[in-house]
C-alpha cells in the first residue's frame, strides 16, 4: 500500500475508533439490553396536565416494550435541576446522579454545557436520530446559537405564535407596530410576561428583531459599545407600549400559562404561546372558548427547538437513552403533534420517513385553531445568547424598579 493510502486508512481507522470509543464500542443493542430493568428519573416542567398525561403514556409504552421504568419528576423551573446537578458535581458525585434525563433548552443547556454537566456526545447512537430534520430545522443543531454537538436530543419545535379572541378582535395586528396601534385603540387588553420569564424575553427579542434595522449584529456576540444604539428602537417601542398594556404595565403576568388564563377570562384579547397548537389543545380541554384562533406576524416569528439531555452522572444512562430514542420515534412524535393530546410540532423530517411512518402524521387532525405550516410563515432564528442577557438586564433596569 502506498504511503498516502496508509495515512488515509489510518486516519479513517482513528476517526472511526474515536467516535465509537466514546462509549466503549457500545452498540444500540447493548444499550437496550442494559437499559432493561433500569428506572429513569425524567425531570421536566410539570405545570401542564396534558403534557404530564403524554409523558405518562410514553412511560407506559417504554415499560412494556423495553422494561424501562420512567418516573416523571415534575419541576417548576428546570434551572433548579441544573443547580442540583451542579451541587452533585461539586460534592464529587460523578456516578449515580439523581437526574437521568431532563427537558431543557436555551440558556439552561448553555449553562450545563459550559460547566461540563452533560454526557459526552451520544445522540448519534439513537436509531431515530437519523430521522431528525437537521437540514431544514437548524435550531435542532444550534440551541440559541450554541452548537448542540449531539449532547442533547431534539424533542419538539416551538414557534412564537399569538392567540386572539375572534369574538372581540376582527383583524389581529400583523406586526409590532400594528400591535402598538391596536393597544392604542383597545387599551389594557394585551400584555406579556415579565422577563426573565422565557416567554417574556422571547417577545422582546421578537420586537427587537422586527424593529431593528441591523439584525446581523444580533447574530454575532454582544457589541457592548453599540448596544444602546442597536436596542434604541426597542426601548422607544416599549416606552410607548407599556402604559397601554393590561394593568397599565404596573403588573405583568408571571408566566405564559397565566396569560392563557387571562385570555380565557377575557381579561386580555391577545396572548402568546410557543406551541402552534396551544389554542386547539386548550379549546379541546375546555380551557379556552372556541372563538380563539392563532396568528403570526407577517415577517415571521422566532422559533426554536426544545431538547432532552442526559447529565454526565446519570445513574440510568442506558434507560434514559432508550426513553429519549422512543420519544424521537415517529409514533411518539405523531401522537405528540396531535392537538387533542398535546399539539407540539415534530422535529422529524417527513422526507426521511417511510410511507407508513408518514401516514401516522397525515392522520393527525390539524386542530381548529392551528395554522398550516405555510401560514406559520418564516421562522426567525434566535439571536446570540449574549444579547439575551444584556437585553434582560436593561429591561429590568428600565421597568422593574
Amino acid at each position: 500500500m502506498s504511503a498516502t493510502c496508509r495515512t488515509i486508512f489510518l486516519a479513517v481507522i482513528i476517526t472511526v475508533c474515536s467516535i465509537t470509543s466514546a462509549h466503549g464500542n457500545q452498540s444500540w443493542n447493548d444499550i437496550v439490553a442494559k437499559a432493561s430493568g433500569q428506572t429513569v428519573y425524567f425531570n421536566g416542567w410539570g405545570g401542564s396536565a396534558v403534557i404530564n398525561d403524554y409523558i405518562r403514556w410514553a412511560a407506559k409504552e417504554v415499560e412494556s416494550r423495553h422494561g424501562v421504568t420512567v418516573k416523571h419528576v415534575k419541576v417548576t423551573d428546570i434551572g433548579d435541576v441544573v443547580g442540583r446537578i451542579l451541587a452533585e458535581k461539586n460534592g464529587g458525585r460523578i456516578t449515580n446522579g439523581s437526574v437521568d434525563l431532563m427537558w431543557i433548552n436555551g440558556e439552561n443547556f448553555h449553562a450545563m454545557k459550559t460547566h461540563g454537566l452533560l454526557q459526552q456526545p451520544y445522540t448519534q447512537l439513537f436509531p431515530n436520530y437519523k430521522l431528525v430534520d437537521t437540514e431544514n430545522k437548524p435550531s435542532t443543531l444550534f440551541d440559541f446559537t450554541v452548537p448542540v454537538d449531539n449532547q442533547e436530543a431534539p424533542w419538539g419545535m416551538a414557534q412564537l405564535v399569538f392567540l386572539y379572541d375572534t369574538a372581540v378582535v376582527a383583524d389581529p395586528p400583523a406586526s409590532m407596530t400594528d400591535l402598538l396601534e391596536f393597544c392604542r385603540v383597545t387599551k389594557g387588553r394585551f400584555t406579556y410576561p415579565a422577563p426573565p420569564d422565557f416567554y417574556g424575553t422571547t417577545f422582546i427579542k421578537q420586537a427587537l428583531l422586527e424593529l431593528n434595522t441591523d439584525s446581523e449584529a444580533l447574530y454575532r456576540p454582544l457589541d457592548a459599545e453599540r448596544f444602546q444604539d442597536i436596542t434604541k428602537p426597542l426601548w422607544d417601542f416599549l416606552d410607548e407600549l407599556h402604559p397601554l398594556l393590561w394593568r397599565g404595565g404596573r403588573a405583568h403576568p408571571k408566566s405564559a400559562p397565566e396569560m392563557t388564563r387571562l385570555l380565557g377570562d377575557r381579561e386580555i384579547f391577545i396572548s402568546l404561546s410557543f406551541n402552534p397548537s396551544e389554542a386547539s389543545n386548550a379549546i379541546a380541554t375546555g380551557e379556552l372558548p372556541d372563538t380563539i384562533r392563532t396568528y403570526v406576524h407577517s415577517n415571521g416569528t422566532i422559533g426554536n427547538t426544545h431538547f432532552l439531555a442526559i447529565p454526565f452522572n446519570a445513574a440510568a444512562r442506558e434507560g434514559a437513552m432508550v426513553f429519549a430514542d422512543f420519544l424521537l420515534s415517529p409514533e411518539a412524535q405523531a401522537r405528540k403533534s396531535d392537538p387533542a393530546v398535546w399539539g407540539d410540532p415534530t422535529v422529524l423530517s417527513m422526507d426521511k420517513l417511510s410511507s407508513e411512518q408518514r401516514a401516522l402524521f397525515t392522520a393527525v387532525p390539524r386542530g381548529i385553531a392551528t395554522l398550516t405550516p405555510e401560514q406559520l410563515g418564516t421562522v426567525i432564528l434566535e439571536p446570540h445568547a449574549s444579547w439575551v442577557n444584556a437585553i434582560e438586564k436593561e429591561w429590568l433596569q428600565r421597568y422593574a424598579r
Binding site: 410539570g46 419528576v73 415534575k74 451542579l86 452533585e88 449553562a111 403588573a251 400559562p257 392563557t260 380551557e287
Partner: protein, 569 residues
C-alpha cells in the same frame, strides 16, 4: 414526696438539640460561604464582596426590599392587633367557643391553596365581580383594575393577614390558659375598670411574653415567603424572597452567588426586624407603665371593641368563600366571565386525577405522620423533663438551650436550605426518607412545641402526685393519668405539626432531590400551569389532609371522654 431524679428524661433535650443544631449551623455556613464568592462549581473561587456588590447594584433591589418590608411588617402588626382585638371582644362569650371551633378548619387550609382561591375572589375576572356582572355593573369583559398582584403588595399583605391572624389567635387561646382571665377581669371590674382597659392593662401585658415567639415567627415567615408572593404578590419587581429563589434557579450559574448573597441579606433584614420588634416592646413597656397607672377607668375606644366581631366574621367569610370557589372550580367543565356559576359541570377533573394523586398523597401522609409522631414524642419528653427539673429545682444546660429549636422559624427557609442540600449531597443522604422526615422535623417540632407548651405547663401537677402515690410507678401515672388528661392538647398540637409538614414546599424540594413528590409540590407545580380546574382539585386535596388531622384531634378525645364532663373543656 419522693421526687425521683431526672435521669432518663435528660436524653430528650439532647436528642432534640442535635436534630437542630447541626442542620441550622451547616445550612447557614454553606449558604454564607458562596455569598462571599466561594462556589467552585459556579466558577467562584475567591472570597470577596462581588456577590454583594452585584446584589446591591441590581435595579430591582430597592423596590423588592420595600415591598418585602412593607408586607412583612404590616401583616405581622395587623395580625397581632386583630388577634388581640378579637380576644378582647369575644372572650367569655358564646362566640369565643365558636371561634375556637372554627380555628381548626381555618388553620388546615394551607396558605398557597387559600391564596389561589383568594386571587380568584378578587381579580377583576373573579367571583366577586362575576356576582355583579353584567348586572348591575355593566361589564361584559373584566375591567382593567389592579387587585391581585398590585405593585404596592397590598393584596399580598391582606392574604398574609387572613392566614396569620388565626394562627396568632390560636397562640392567644393557648396563652390565655396560663392566666386566670376570669378572675383578673373580676378584680379589674371591681376596681371600676371597663373591658378594654382591663385587657390592655392587665391581661395583654401578661399574655404578650407568650405571644412574642409566635409573633416573631410570623414576622420571619412574612418576610421570606416565596409561594404566596409568587401567587399574589407584585411582579414588577417581586419581593426579595422571590428574587432570591429566581437567582438560585437561574441558568446563569454565577447568579447563584448573588442568590446566596441575597439569602444572607434577607437573613440580616429578618434579624433587624426582630431586633426592632424587641426594642419596640421595651419602648412600649416603658412608655406604657406610667400611663397604665393613671387610674383612668374607661378608654375612649371602648365602643370600638365589638367591631372585632366584624373582622372575625370577615375572616371566616373570606376563608370560606376561597374554599368554596376552589370547590366549584374542581367540579367545573367550563366557566367563563361573567357567569356566576359554571356553564358546564364535570366530574372528570377528579376522576382523571384521582389515581395520579394517590402516590403524592401517600408520600405526604407518611412524611407528615412520621414527623408529627416523632416531634410529639420529643416535645412531650422535653416538657416532661422540664417539669421534673422545675420540681427538683434543678437547671440543665440542655433544657435551657431549647430555644434553639425555634431558630428555624426565625430564619428564612431559603437562607439555609441551600447549604443543607450541599451537605446532604456530599453525605449521599439526599433523596432518602431519612433526610426528608428529618428536614420536616426541623420545621414541625417548633410549631408542636409552641402549641403544646402552655397547656402542658398549665397541667395541675397534683393529679400526678396523687397518681404516683397510688400506683408507685411514674410511668404508669404518666401513661394512665397525665396523657389521657392532656390527650386533646397533645393531639391538637400533633395536628398542627401534621399540617405544617403537609404544607412544606421548599424543604421537600431541596432535600428530596426529585425523589419525593408530595401533594404540595404537585400543587405548586400545577399552580404554574393554566388549568384552574386541576389546580383546584390538588389544592383541595392539600386541604383535606390537615382537616382530617384536626378533626381526628378533636373527635378522638371527645369520644374517649364522652362521659366525662370535666374533660370536655
Amino acid at each position: 414526696m419522693n421526687i425521683s431524679r431526672p435521669g432518663k428524661l435528660k436524653v430528650f433535650p439532647y436528642l432534640t438539640l442535635t436534630t437542630f443544631l447541626l442542620p441550622i449551623l451547616v445550612g447557614l455556613i454553606f449558604t454564607t460561604i458562596p455569598a462571599f464568592g466561594y462556589l467552585p462549581a459556579a466558577g467562584g473561587s475567591e472570597f470577596g464582596f462581588t456577590p454583594f456588590l452585584r446584589l446591591f447594584s441590581h435595579p430591582s433591589l430597592p423596590a423588592a426590599l420595600r415591598s418585602t418590608i412593607f408586607s412583612g411588617v404590616t401583616a405581622s402588626i395587623v395580625s397581632l392587633t386583630l388577634a388581640l382585638w378579637i380576644a378582647t371582644a369575644l372572650y367569655g362569650t358564646r362566640l369565643w367557643k365558636l371561634a375556637e371551633f372554627s380555628l381548626a378548619p381555618l388553620l388546615s387550609l394551607p396558605h398557597a391553596a387559600f391564596a389561589i382561591g383568594f386571587v380568584f375572589l378578587i381579580t377583576p375576572s373573579g367571583w366577586l365581580l362575576r356576582a355583579i356582572s353584567p348586572v348591575p355593573s355593566g361589564f361584559t369583559h373584566p375591567p382593567d383594575w389592579i387587585t391581585a398582584g398590585d405593585p404596592w403588595a397590598v393584596a399580598l399583605t391582606l392574604t398574609m393577614i387572613l392566614k396569620e391572624t388565626p394562627f396568632l389567635l390560636l397562640m392567644v387561646f393557648s396563652g390565655l390558659n396560663r392566666i386566670d382571665v376570669k378572675r383578673t377581669v373580676w378584680v379589674g371590674r371591681s376596681l371600676g375598670y371597663h373591658r378594654l382597659r382591663i385587657w390592655t392593662r392587665l391581661i395583654i401585658p401578661q399574655l404578650y411574653p407568650m405571644l412574642r415567639l409566635p409573633l416573631l415567627a410570623v414576622l420571619a415567615y412574612s418576610l421570606s415567603v416565596v409561594d404566596l408572593a409568587y401567587i399574589i404578590g407584585p411582579s414588577l419587581p417581586p419581593p426579595l424572597a422571590v428574587l432570591i429563589d429566581r437567582w438560585f434557579n437561574d441558568p446563569d450559574i454565577s447568579n447563584r452567588l448573588v442568590g446566596a448573597a441575597g439569602a444572607v441579606f434577607l437573613f440580616v433584614i429578618t434579624l433587624a426586624c426582630i431586633a426592632l420588634t424587641m426594642l419596640a416592646e421595651l419602648a412600649i413597656k416603658r412608655a406604657a407603665t406610667d400611663r397604665m397607672l393613671n387610674g383612668k377607668r374607661k378608654s375612649p375606644f371602648e365602643s370600638f371593641i365589638p367591631g372585632a366581631r366584624f373582622f372575625a366574621g370577615g375572616l371566616l367569610l373570606i376563608n370560606t368563600l376561597s374554599l368554596l370557589v376552589l370547590l366549584i372550580w374542581s367540579f367545573c367543565g367550563i366557566w367563563r366571565f361573567p357567569d356566576f356559576l359554571p356553564s358546564l359541570y364535570s366530574l372528570s377533573n377528579w376522576l382523571r386525577h384521582g389515581e395520579y394523586m394517590l402516590e403524592p398523597l401517600g408520600v405526604s401522609v407518611v412524611a407528615a405522620l412520621l414527623s408529627c409522631i416523632i416531634s410529639g414524642i420529643l416535645v412531650v419528653g422535653c416538657l416532661e423533663n422540664e417539669q421534673t427539673l422545675t420540681q427538683a429545682r434543678l437547671v440543665s444546660i440542655s433544657q435551657r438551650s431549647l430555644w434553639i429549636i425555634f431558630v428555624p422559624l426565625l430564619i428564612p427557609q431559603i437562607s439555609f436550605l441551600f447549604g443543607i442540600q450541599v451537605l446532604l449531597v456530599t453525605l449521599h443522604l439526599d433523596g432518602t426518607w431519612f433526610a426528608l422526615v428529618w428536614i420536616h422535623l426541623v420545621f414541625v417540632l417548633p410549631y408542636v412545641f409552641l402549641t403544646l407548651a402552655n397547656t402542658y405547663r398549665a397541667y395541675d401537677q397534683r393529679y400526678s402526685h396523687v397518681g404516683t402515690t397510688l400506683s408507685s410507678s411514674r410511668f404508669k401515672t404518666f401513661a394512665g393519668i397525665k396523657l389521657p388528661i392532656l390527650l386533646k392538647p397533645i393531639l391538637f398540637s400533633a395536628a398542627v405539626g401534621f399540617s405544617v409538614s403537609i404544607a412544606q414546599y421548599l424543604p421537600t424540594l431541596y432535600v428530596g432531590n426529585g425523589r419525593f413528590a408530595t401533594i404540595t409540590t404537585e400543587t405548586v407545580n400545577l399552580a404554574g400551569g393554566s388549568d384552574r380546574r386541576i389546580i383546584a382539585v390538588y389544592a383541595l386535596c392539600q386541604f383535606i389532609l390537615p382537616l382530617i388531622a384536626y378533626l381526628t384531634a378533636i373527635t378522638v378525645p371527645f369520644l374517649m371522654h364522652r362521659n366525662r364532663q370535666l374533660m370536655r373543656n
